[in-house]
């Protein structure tokens, strides 16, 4: 074997031209090549130096060991949840930067003067969409559910803790693949939906679509496993007395979302796998020739895609339900109606996928059927909106940060939903499909819906997870900034869509578009400022954590079980598994004076031991997929063998649990309890002040 052959085998098709500044080297006299090369190199160096900085910091502070045993190999649902949320926030930063670049480009793109090359712009909207859906929204909601749901149902952990860390590993591997594509370019230019034939080998033979395929596949496998884990947890791990109809609404939405994950991720896996077969093995599923049918791809993709948007929104609905009931000091209005509406939405979501391709050419009758089924979804959603408003009605409403997000949500989401009903009409859709009207619509659902919900949940449960509240002032600035920024950034897009501006547009010659795109840019900058406020908030809160401490665990006069335990909760969540007698169990305990009791029956607790399997499979998944992207077949084979070996080796471990003795549990609990009992009760008017120590005076007691 010559050196040349060896290098070919070792590096596959990875060459110098994958480096972000290669275009500059190739066209040193082209100004645009310089500009785009510099942008790409800047991003790449951020990735590389960011990673280096993390490594240096970990080494300097000697955190490797605690990172390993406390986090990376931990199978504690709370730690896994936190890691998911961190992943989501990091990726959100990248997605936002990309959004800003796109908006800045379009605001300067009249008469083709924009600064990005078409390929670069294509990568921007593809990575932005892919990241925001798969690596921001999905990990965020998975993280929140992971943290909160087991606590709310009174469980010690999810049903399959190791599987949980495998899901995290796979999702993180997908995200890592997208990050690496900044250093070894390019990523796909085919949009987040990756439609063939544009993403087929004959049109796009490079590594881009392969990066997209494998990143998305890893993430969808992770989500499938998550769905299985969560739904089995809700089915089998509820505390005694926690009947289905006593579960907090967030758990219901978690259950429905997980069921959707179980059934909706497989179509995505099939779609990307078949596309991969087309690209790698010369199959003909979606090609132009030899009987391929690219319309089946659209069909398969949206069989996933539509339930997916409900996967994204239902947990947010759950968060809002908790926010409205907690911060109104009232039990949820129309609980059963909300549960039924959630189930209706979940089932209906499988019957509307065709509205994503009304214009593909099927008959008008078929379009009409799917148009009607789409509009039907508006009904249960409307029911929910009314239930939330009636929850606030005559409640003791406190305008805390989660509540600001929730109110912004109600107003903006109704507008977004209305435009959805407009789009559900096939004849209207023929006019505005593929325009910025659609982009405005789905951002209107995803930002005020999903993202605000996630941020509200983050603010509400942060004190539970870390023992101190987030700073209120910076939180308000962030929330108001998000709301105002959203309105400015996306309402102009409705206008642009009606003016006929297509989405994913690199350059235009219509001067009427210009003012709208400039306003949208301003709005986007406001959103970036809001995100900066979130970062400042985190910084300030960590700095002032002693003043914001709520170790007693109940800063908001919570109604559900997660507030009954300390903040942060012990590894085993509850010293004694609670017995539930009603809805809003913790409120009833507080009112009946049964909260903060010391149980008399202590037992040993069996908890799962740490496991490295999730980490190993994540690493192996990343390496294997990286090998697939660049045709490094040796790496693919090695990774596959290592993964298989790890799973088999794991099946030979017998000693997978550890026991925490009853004495230890009791000692820990009694110490906490004594501290808490010494604290004064906080009334709601002090909720946002430093007087809030996490021991709440129930609102109803206050009123008496």
């Amino acid at each position: 074997m010559t050196l040349h052959q060896f290098l070919d085998t070792a590096f596959g098709r990875l060459g110098w031209d994958a480096l972000p500044f290669w275009e500059i080297v190739r066209h040193p006299h082209d100004g645009k090549a310089w500009l785009n090369g510099l942008i790409a190199s800047g991003a790449a160096s951020l990735v590389v130096f960011g990673a280096l900085a993390v490594v240096v910091m970990l080494t300097r502070r000697r955190w490797w060991r605690s990172l390993w045993s406390g986090w990376l190999t931990s199978v504690d649902h709370k730690k896994i949840g936190i890691m998911y949320v961190i992943l989501a926030l990091v990726m959100l930063a990248r997605g936002l930067v990309e959004a800003t670049f796109m908006r800045a480009h379009q605001a300067t793109a009249l008469n083709d003067t924009g600064f990005l090359t078409p390929e670069h712009f294509g990568e921007f909207f593809t990575t932005h969409g892919t990241i925001m859906i798969f690596f921001v929204a999905m990990p965020f909601l998975t993280g929140l559910i992971n943290y909160v749901m087991p606590l709310q149902i009174g469980a010690r952990d999810v049903s399959f803790p190791v599987l949980n860390s495998i899901s995290l590993g796979l999702t993180a591997a997908g995200a890592a693949l997208v990050m690496v594509s900044l250093v070894l370019m390019p990523f796909s230019t085919g949009g987040w939906s990756g439609y063939p034939p544009y993403t087929e080998r004959s049109f796009n033979p490079g590594a881009g679509p392969d990066y997209w395929i494998w990143a998305v596949t890893l993430s969808s496998l992770g989500s499938t496993l998550t769905g299985i884990n969560f739904s089995v947890t809700v089915y089998k791990e509820r505390a005694p007395g926690m009947h289905f109809f006593r579960m907090p609404l967030f758990c219901w939405t978690a259950l429905c979302t997980s069921i959707l994950m179980i059934f909706a991720m497989p179509p995505l896996t099939v779609a990307t796998a078949l596309l991969a077969l087309d690209r790698y093995a010369d199959f003909h599923f979606f090609t132009n020739d030899l009987g391929g049918n690219m319309m089946n791809y659209a069909n398969l993709f949206w069989l996933f895609g539509h339930p997916e948007v409900y996967i994204l929104i239902l947990p947010a609905f759950g968060v809002y339900s908790e926010v409205f009931t907690t911060f109104s000091g009232k039990t949820l209005y129309g609980y059963r109606a909300l549960v039924l509406a959630t189930m209706c939405i979940a089932v209906l979501s499988f019957g509307v996928w065709m509205h994503h391709f009304f214009t593909m050419g099927q008959s008008a009758e078929l379009n009409a059927v799917f148009g009607i089924s789409t509009m039907l979804i508006g009904i249960p959603t409307g029911v929910k909106i009314f239930d939330w408003m009636l929850t606030m009605y005559r409640g003791q409403v406190r305008l805390t940060v989660p509540m600001i997000y929730a109110l912004g949500f109600i107003m903006l989401f109704v507008i977004g939903g209305t435009t959805g009903i407009v789009l559900a009409n096939p004849s209207v859709d023929y006019q505005v499909h593929n325009t910025l009207f659609l982009v405005a619509h789905f951002h209107n659902m995803l930002i005020p819906g999903t993202l605000f919900g996630m941020l509200a949940g983050y603010t509400m449960w942060f004190p539970k997870a870390f023992g101190f509240r987030l700073d209120e002032i910076w939180g308000r600035r962030a929330a108001l900034g998000w709301i105002a920024g959203f309105v400015l950034a996306f309402f102009p897009l409705y206008g642009l869509g009606l003016l006929g501006m297509p989405r994913r547009l690199h350059a235009y010659v219509e001067p009427a578009y210009l003012p709208f795109t400039v306003v949208a840019l301003v709005g986007t900058l406001l959103i970036v400022a809001a995100f900066a406020c979130l970062c400042v908030q985190l910084w300030v809160s960590v700095r002032d954590r002693d003043h914001l401490s709520v170790r007693a665990g109940d800063p908001w006069d919570g109604r559900t079980l997660e507030w009954a335990t300390s903040a942060p909760p012990p590894e085993y969540n509850f010293p004694v598994v609670p017995t539930v007698e009603s809805k809003d169990p913790f409120t009833h305990e507080k009112l009946d004076g049964k909260a903060l009791q010391s149980p008399d029956d202590w037992q040993d607790i069996e908890m799962p031991r740490n496991a490295a399997l999730g980490l190993v499979l994540g690493l192996v998944g990343f390496l294997g997929c990286f090998g697939l992207v660049w045709y490094m077949w040796w790496l693919v084979v090695l990774a596959a063998l290592a993964g298989l070996g790890a799973v088999i080796a794991r099946s030979f471990t017998r000693n997978t649990t550890k026991t925490i003795s009853a004495d230890e549990v009791r000692a820990q609990y009694m110490e906490w309890l004594e501290n808490v009992r010494a604290l004064p009760l906080t009334v709601r008017s002090q909720e946002s002040s430093r007087a809030n120590n996490g021991r709440a005076m129930p609102v109803m007691k206050e009123q008496q």
Binding site: L274, L277, F283, H284, L290, N296
Partner: protein, 203 residues
Amino acid sequence: MSRHPGLNLDASHAPAHDQAVTLVFGFWVFMMSDVIVFGLLFATYVAMSDALAGGPGPHDLFELRTVFIETLLLLISSLTIGMASLSMKHERDDARLFIWLGLTFGLGLAFLSYELHDFASMVEKGGVPSRSGWLSAFWALVPLHALHVSAAMLWLVVIAVQVLIFGQDSEVKLGLLRLTVLWHFLDIVWIGIFTIVYLGELG
């Protein structure tokens, strides 16, 4: 008594029993997710059944005889793995368990050999996936089933080794229970394959 196939850990040990129920239920959910994968490949296959693109078709490529043999092999193996799980449930006899597991493995191997023979003869006659959309659909669906069978056989070997090392402890039992579910499930998918892929095209 629980109605799960062979789900009978010591009844006195309630938490272990709950855990077993949870584990088997979780595996069922996983299988159902897999059903969707197969279901969509079936739908794609049906939708592409006209996409021959002038290439060879079912009558040129399929052999009814071998498909019939494969069907019988798999059906018998369903019976033998069921017997394996019953033996685990009611007897403590490792030797018997090994006989049933060995039979199952052998039948699986025979099934795979016949399938490989089928695939080879298809390739020989020009029925490769790159030839047409219909062939692509075939080659994604049927070999995926074969891949599942191979994985199940690997799992079976792992379980057998564990019996040698650990005896029939509860992990082994749970493993075999889930393998049984998988194996039956693969037979059910095969019913779909011989009905839709082979007979539906030939009939």
